[in-house]
Amino acid sequence: MTISFIILAILVLAGAALAMSLRNLVHCALCLVLSFTGLAGLFLQLQAQFVGFAQILVYGGAVSILVVFAILLTRSGDTQESAEINRDWVIGCWIAAIVFSTLAMALLSSAFFKEPQAVPGQADARAMGHELMTRYVLPLEAVALLLTAALIGAALIAMPELRKPQGHAPDKEVA
């Protein structure tokens, strides 16, 4: 375990915990950027350069900007949630603790603790691009189609509702 891993892990966990617990939503979004950037650092530490920079671009840039836009458009930054610890919090923390203990038990009983694996993965951007164009070309096209459809759909959903054309609802007059 290296120093950089500890620093990045603290950054990620503290950012995530603050993003989930702060009352002011704009502060939440800023802590979220911190957490995502720490995760990008972890990806870079794992020698996944392309995914690390994609993480910075997509999450640190686009997703956080979208979240900030949504917060400001819905004026959630003005209204504060009530701060008292109610029953929901207790139940949520219990569920989280149970899930974590399950994951930890599965982890402890797995083989990864005992025998370190031999072959570390290696891929630079060139190798990844080559693989995207050969072996994974069909998933790539599917993702492209999905992104196009999702963005058009998002724009349609977020658009103000159009007025219905006049004289198109004769049912009421009949009734």
């Binding site: 375990m1 892990a9 974590f100 072959v119 977020a158």
Partner: protein, 103 residues
Amino acid sequence: MTPLPYYLVLSSLLFIIGLAGAITRRNAIIVLIGIELMLNAANLNFIAFWRHGVSGQGNAGLMFALFSIAIAAAEVAVGLALIIAIYRHRKTLDLNRVNSLKG
């Protein structure tokens, strides 16, 4: 190189932070952020497994993480558009009050 179990513990901690937030918070945007954190924890797992060579030869883990990032971006766009539409309709984002499909 940091051993694999540290990454797995870190990602499970990140996952439960997101899970606890998604369960307990009442604002729809924060719930969406919690789901994003859970997705990111899964991405960290993919890349850690890839780096430590558990998945065998090839870059399947890396590719999976890349596609997951792309799909998460689409999901956030649609989710926030839905949130804005709900806010326009009901003037609130409190999930305890947005509890019926009929507008």
